[in-house]
Each structure stands twice: as C-alpha cells, then as structure tokens.
C-alpha cells in the first residue's frame, strides 16, 4: 500500500497580524485530501513538549492553507505541523522548519478616508482588528506648519481630528501601531482637504 506523502514546503505568510500557514498540496488522483494542522506555543514546547493543539479552523481542512491567526495569539515562537489524510490513510507530520513568531508580521500603511464636516477634519480608518491603534498626524499645508499627532483606537467609524480655519488646506497621514508586538507600520501617503473660505460679513 502506497504510503501517503507528507505535505511539503510549509511556510507562513503574515500581514497585519493575519497569519496564513501554506504548504504544497498532496495529490492522489481521484481522492479528496484532508489536512490536519496542529500548533505548539513556546509554553507547550518548554513545559509540555508532548502536547500539540489542534488548530481552530483546520482540523480538518481541504485546501493547502490554514488561517492560524486565532491560534497564534501570543508574541512567542510557535511550532506548526501539518499532515494529510485520505480515507484511513494518514501521512507523517510535516513540521515548519523554523518556529513562527507573530512579531515578524508585515505591517502595511492603513487605508484612510479623510473628509470634512464644515470646518471639522474627520477621518475614517479601516478596521484591522482590536490589536491595532492608529497614529494620525495632521497639519495645515503651509511652510513651517506644526504637525499635530493623535492616537485613534476607533475602527471603522468617523473620528474627529481637529477644527480647521476657513480657506486653509489641511493634510493627514497615518500609520498603525501594534502594542502586542511593539511595532509600527510605515506612514500612508498624505491626503489633503481644503476648507471653503467663510463668507465675510459686509464691512461698513
């Protein structure tokens, strides 16, 4: 009986604290292959090395990838392993070569929407999840203007940044901060809005 091969080429792709474990699919013509993913945090590997925990979403799964975001929930190295099954056949475990630590995640500049409500500068930031704070810098577009900085935690709802003076243009840029791993993303491109001038009263 042919032995079912273990999945190969395990790797983790992690962006903005979303972690995806991937591997090369095991092919058996005419059969549906199921995969089981398990993980072990540093605690388990130090104190309970025999313990492996079934992944939240991939015990089993069909595709050659697994979202391990809800499993890797501490900033410590995690061991990850996968095996394939078809019918009663089960492959050997294939283990990620190097433990994965979420502090290696790629942080991208966040998407923002800068608007105004009258003289009020308002920003709406994409919802990247509860671990993200946003460092918002805004300034009046003129030489030597002072840069104001605000930490925003609200996600997905318009947040008031500041009050603008009539006729002026204001620019905004933002980056994320993830306290759990102590890292920032790069700043986004600056976006600017111009405030309509106020209709001056007739001077007598």
């Amino acid at each position: 009986v042919a032995i079912l091969p273990a999945p190969q080429n395990l790797s983790v792709q992690s962006t903005n604290m979303k972690h995806l474990l991937m591997w090369s699919p095991v092919i058996v013509p005419g059969e549906i292959i199921y995969y089981f993913v398990e993980y072990q945090g540093e605690y388990e590997s130090l104190y309970m090395s025999h313990i492996w925990i079934p992944s939240s979403w991939c015990s089993p799964t069909e595709g050659p990838e697994c979202d391990i975001t809800d499993d890797v929930t501490a900033t410590v190295p995690y061991n990850l392993r996968v095996r394939a099954t078809v019918g009663a056949q089960t492959s050997a475990w294939s283990t990620l070569q190097h433990p994965f630590n979420r502090n290696s995640t790629v942080l991208t500049p966040p998407v923002m929407e800068v608007t105004k409500d009258g003289f009020h500068l308002v920003i709406k930031l994409e919802d990247l999840g509860p671990q993200f704070e946003f460092l918002v810098a805004y300034w009046r577009r003129e030489p030597g203007a002072k840069e104001h900085v605000k930490v925003v935690k609200s996600r997905g709802i318009p947040v008031h940044l500041g009050t603008m003076e009539p006729g002026a243009a204001y620019c905004v840029k933002v980056r994320t901060f993830v306290k759990a791993i102590g890292r920032h993303s790069p700043f986004s491109q600056a976006e600017c809005v111009k405030v309509q001038g106020e209709t001056l009263p007739l001077t007598l």
Binding site: E42, Y43, E44, Y47, I53, S59, T73
Partner: protein, 153 residues
C-alpha cells in the same frame, strides 16, 4: 531601583481569552469557601514599589505550577489556556528587562504575599488547586491591568 517597572502589556486580549472560558472553568471549582489569591489579604495590600516583584512571582506561579497541574481535554478551552500561558511567558520576558535595570526588587511584603498564595495552593489537591487558580485569573488580570495602567490603557 525606585523607578516603577512599567512595561507595555496588551492585557485585554488575555482578559478576553479568559472571559470565554471563565464560566466553564469556575463551574468546575466546587470549593466556594476557599480562595487561592485571597484578594483582600494579599493582592490589594501590594504597594506600587512591589508591583513588579509580585507580578513576576505570580506569573511564575501560573507558568511553573498552575498551567502544568491542569490537564485539559476540551480543545476550545485548551486553546484559550495555551493563549494565556504563552502570553504569560512573553510577559515574563518583558519583566526580565526590568530586572536587568534593577526595577524589580523583592521586599518582604511581596515575598510574604507570594508565600500565602503558594500555601493556599498547597492546601488543596493539585488538580483542584489548579482549576481554582485558573478560575481566579480574572482577579490577577484586573490587578495587573490596574497596576500597569500607565501602559495598557
């Protein structure tokens, strides 16, 4: 080391992990007349200067004793306990930096409070003591949140 050891800790996801298993874990603890952390006698008497040492001692208490003595078969609960245990491991590393900067001095108050907690634990059979200590994680996390607030608000 008079400067307080304030380290950046993201407590809230640990609190959320515990909230999801709190009812189940606490329901497994039959001894309502016994506490391990015995809040008013120990934790609430800790002064700011002793917060680092007490945090270090209690993290070690959970990592070296409680999580080891508890055997969990339910995968959902196992995942949450693993999340908390690995987060405590990370917090221990973060505290080590304070130790190197001599901001984690242990005075008698913290040492005695820790001794009371270990003694409470040892008066119960290991598994019962472990499940009770797990059930009191909300007390420990609330205490950490309040005492390390400069960083985790």
């Amino acid at each position: 080391g008079l400067r307080r050891c304030l380290i950046s800790m993201d407590i809230h996801h640990i609190e959320e992990a515990f909230q999801e298993i709190k009812k189940t874990i606490q329901a497994k603890d039959p001894f309502q007349n016994v506490t391990i952390l015995s809040t008013s006698e120990t934790l609430h008497r800790i002064k700011p200067l002793d917060v680092c040492c007490m945090t270090k001692n209690l993290l070690a208490f959970y990592v070296d004793k409680v999580f080891k003595d508890h055997q969990e078969l339910n995968p959902q609960i196992l995942r949450k306990i693993s999340s908390i245990a690995n987060s405590f491991l990370y917090m221990q590393k973060a505290l080590r930096q304070c130790q190197e900067q001599r901001q984690c001095h242990c005075r008698d108050e913290a040492t005695n409070a820790t001794r009371i907690i270990h003694s409470n634990y040892d008066q119960l059979e290991a598994r019962s003591a472990a499940i009770k200590s797990l059930g009191e994680l909300d007390v420990f996390l609330a205490w950490i949140d309040r005492n390390h607030q400069g960083t985790s608000a």
